[in-house]
Amino acid sequence: MTNDELKSKIEADFKDKITSAVISAQKELIVTVKPENYLQLCQALRDKGDYLFQHLSCLTAVDYPKENKITVVAHLWSYKYAHQVTIKLDVDRANPKAPSLEKIWQSTNWFEREVFDLYGVVFEGHSDLRRIMMPEDYTKFPLRKDFTDDGFIIKPN
């Protein structure tokens, strides 16, 4: 389906569950969803016949300190229909919690661990949420915009 068809179909199927569905200037369909409907939307997108987004390409997060939110971004791709959609979920920056997509696409296991490691977003329902790149006893979240690496730099005398 083309982006326009997808957009109208998603708006028709999930009208009150999503905050917005926009086609960006770069011709991508970006759907922002409310936290309580996140899992439902993703499950439907994976399983329903016209969507069949079987492949989760990427799950990452973007830090917006000025708007006090962290956006969890998931890119979905369908091998059958060759269409793509981006799902965004805004979480509160002070206490970032999001539902885990692990039961739907198992590949999110590591993607969500990486987001937890680098941004601090806690994914509820994840089977094994622990750090993946940084050492186990690391306390900071490196990819946040207010990250400072004091303590790692040894300044010469």
């Binding site: 960006s24 200037a25 770069q26 991508e28 970006i30 079987q54 492949h55 989760l56 390409s57 990427c58 990452t60 973007v62 830090d63 971004v73 890119h75 791709w77 091998y79 060759a82 793509q84 981006t86 696409w105 198992q106 590949s107 999110t108 296991n109 590591w110 993607f111 089977s127 094994d128 622990r130 993946i132 790149m133 940084m134 050492p135 186990e136 006893d137 490196p142 990819l143 990250f147």
Partner: protein, 381 residues
């Protein structure tokens, strides 16, 4: 550290050193883990019960660094994300930036990009073949693969001066035009190389020992593969048509003829066959692209400072040698990306290692890891 790690893993607090199982650390420095990957393997005698990859030994925070560099400066970092297949990552980032900013490179640049990316695919697969055979125990194909790869690296060096980290494919085109002797030398190489593929296949493909080590080992079913994020040749070895060049054609892949190599088996041997066939397809692709090369500019006119439109983002995918490489860029109106995410094939491919090796032997971990064509800089970035 291992205690801390094991105690955090679910179930690790109860007898992690149980009666019959013991924990072996295929440590970061290891001849076969394709880089600094640490595998904590819980074994029962010779049988593997669980494989826990520990990542992060090669984490160089490339994504964070890219947030503080301008878009052209980021291209140099992309080489290091996958140094075995650097042209592909260069291309991925350049394409992503061009889509973000609405730039269109000239045709000659696009054809040249295709030539180099496909040559890079051949080089990467040759190195993979050597490493995979070496893990299985056949030490000779490694030398043969490297011998051919040297010729490809000579072609690269002739063009951009570098053998490993090229920084050649730039935003808006390529860095410099090819020398006049490039095309005849490239054709000569392809003519020399094509019969060699048959030689290497004869050495390995139907060798009884190789078959025993790889047939039936590491079975990925199509559903399990898609759900677990396997991509690229590893998924094509299970019969799933997932080539980005066919599904979402970039450059001029919709104007050239090539077949997507699919194998139904789903085991290590099928993945090996897929990659050997892909080498042949790439040879044919390079020939077609060289035929279509026409004189022209190699770079489009760029503004002095490349700025992304405010509040823009793009997720752009290409088919790198290992699978789907996706670049997610968020632009905020400045010359530096607000966020750059590298979605690398090896990261998602390595996730299935645990599921594939449970109940198999230690030697199979090496076979499976080799067949997934994982390299660590992609996993850790």
């Amino acid at each position: 550290m291992t205690d801390l790690l094991l105690s955090q893993i679910k179930g690790g607090n109860e007898s992690q050193f149980g009666t019959d199982e013991y924990v072996v650390n295929l440590g970061p420095q290891h001849p076969a883990t394709h880089g600094v990957l640490r595998l904590v393997v819980k074994m029962d005698g010779e049988t593997v019960k669980e494989t826990i990859p520990v990542l992060g030994y090669l984490h160089r925070s490339i994504e964070k660094i890219c947030e503080n560099r301008t878009y052209p400066q980021c291209i140099t970092y992309t080489d290091r994300v996958d140094y075995v297949s650097a042209m592909s990552v260069n291309l991925a980032f350049a394409l992503a930036t061009e889509r973000l900013m609405g730039l269109e490179p000239p045709p000659r640049a696009q054809w040249l990009r295709m030539v180099f990316v496909e040559l890079q695919r051949i080089a990467s697969h040759l190195l993979w073949m050597g490493a995979f055979a070496g893990d299985i125990g056949a030490l000779t194909p490694f030398l043969y693969g490297l011998r051919e790869r040297e010729r490809i690296l000579d072609l690269f060096e002739m063009t951009c001066g570098q053998r490993l980290t090229y920084n050649y494919i730039r935003i808006g085109g390529v860095m410099i035009d090819i020398l006049p002797e490039f095309v005849p030398k490239c054709r000569a190489f392809l003519d020399y190389f094509e019969p060699k593929i048959a030689e290497y296949e004869e050495l390995l493909t139907y060798n009884p020992i190789f078959l025993e080590r790889t047939r039936g080992v590491g079975l990925i079913s199509p559903e399990m593969g898609i759900n677990n994020g396997v991509c690229g040749p590893s998924l094509r070895g299970s019969g799933v048509a997932c080539d980005v060049r066919k599904q979402q054609p970039y450059l001029y892949y919709d104007q050239v003829k090539f077949t997507e190599c699919l194998e139904p088996g789903g085991d290590c041997w099928s993945r090996y066959r897929v990659r050997m066939r892909e080498i042949r397809e790439s040879v044919s692709l390079v020939r077609q692209c060289l035929d279509r090369l026409e004189p022209g500019p190699i770079e489009t006119k760029l503004p002095p400072i490349l700025k992304a439109p405010p509040a823009s983002e793009i997720y752009s995918r290409i088919e790198s040698s290992r699978g789907e490489m996706g670049i997610y860029l968020v632009g905020d109106g400045t010359a530096k990306p607000y966020k750059a995410k590298f979605r690398c094939a090896s990261f998602s491919n390595t996730y299935v290692l645990d599921q594939l090796t449970r109940g198999w032997k230690l030697a199979d971990i090496m076979a499976v890891l080799g067949s997934l064509d994982m390299i660590v800089p992609e996993v850790d970035r």
